[in-house]
Amino acid sequence: MSTPLPSLDPLLHQPLRTQLAAFLSGRGEATFSELKRVLNATDGNLDAHLGKLIEAGYVESRKDPVSSGRAQTVFSLSPAGRAALMAYVATLAELMALSGTAADQAVPASAFIKPA
């Protein structure tokens, strides 16, 4: 009887959403414009994927009041989102080990330390 393959989080197993979560994990928080620029995504595409992550509780948003009057929305990874990303990376490393690829290339857990 063969060992069942570890399953990947379907919500994070989408290229743009993986990148989004990883960027927010490193950056702490970012505005919509920053995310759009870094991920090279269109407004509609980014909005849809952000919506899914917010709905799942992986990403949090808050209004950042600025002196010029117009508040900007700032997005950050929630503790649940951070845990999900760590679990996703651990699963990928496991899959790499099973397929015989060097596991030492995996992203270290220390890379996910939350900025204060």
Binding site: G26, G28, S33, E34, V38, D64, A93, Q105
Partner: protein
Amino acid sequence: MSTPELRLETIQSMLFAGHRSVRLERHSLLLWGGVGGFLCAATQPVVTVERFPELQQRATALLVWLAFWLGSAACADHYLTRRVRRLREETLPFAQHQITRAWWMLLAMGVLGSVAMSVHGGAHMVYALWTVLLGLGIYLFGLFSRPLTEWIGLATILLGVGGLASGLPFGTTRWLAASCFAIGLPLAGVLGARTEHGALPVRLSALAVWLLLVTGVPLSLASVSSWTPVPAAMPRPLSGLAALAGEQVVSLPAGTAVPLRLDLDSPLLTVAPQEGLPLTLNRSIEIALRDGRPDGRYRLAGGTWHQMGEGLLQLRIDRLAPQLERGEPAIRAHAVFGETESAEELP
């Protein structure tokens, strides 16, 4: 490459992008570069012994002068950075907040260090200190920014330390510090933006260009500013000097007595005004006079003419010890006096 491996690589690169989100904005580089370069070039001529004869006055003037310019630059930079980020609809990363605080701390240390050096001595190190502090600041930003910024930070630290270790004259370290600020900072911004996605050889070439310009310009400036006009008058012995207006050159041969008159400001000791420490010249020296008073130009043993303002001649008292000599109390001081280039010690 397998799919999980590709995914992990993507995650790693996005994490890296997230961590390295600190930016030294163009206006910051221009502002700090301009103010730093200006202070390196202008502080010496502004805070002078003639304007502030008392040591305490001079230290206070230096503190106010540096704190005013650097404090104003810090406020302007803080305001402009927040404005630029807001216009780009970007947040200011937490790391940038912290590094900016560390940067201000470095500058405050530099100001206090400069004032302390002017009071307690070691002032010939002041520009090397500022160059090293600038390098540390750029290096800190570079750790969270572009790799080229990090390299330029390290190069600046090495320039400061190397300049001091190799015994560069004080005037040259001053121009080097001015160049690291005024040329190095804006140039780091331009090269960093142009080579951001470049391969390693491209970034190494950018670093070489940076080093070439940052060191080439001050060395040329130092050689121009240290050029001393050769006096047209023929050298005369001390006995042959006439009480004339205009330029004269007095020649003092080796063996001439030149007593050192100490102007001591101390609550512990008093010096008799007419008493001097008997010193004798080991080498001949020529001194240029203007209207009967030394104008700062000199040359040792038929060498090239220099100006006192170049800071080549240095006196360092490195040891003081109370002693009893034949039952009489005395203070023995060990001092080193000489040129920075030849580092000669007088007995």
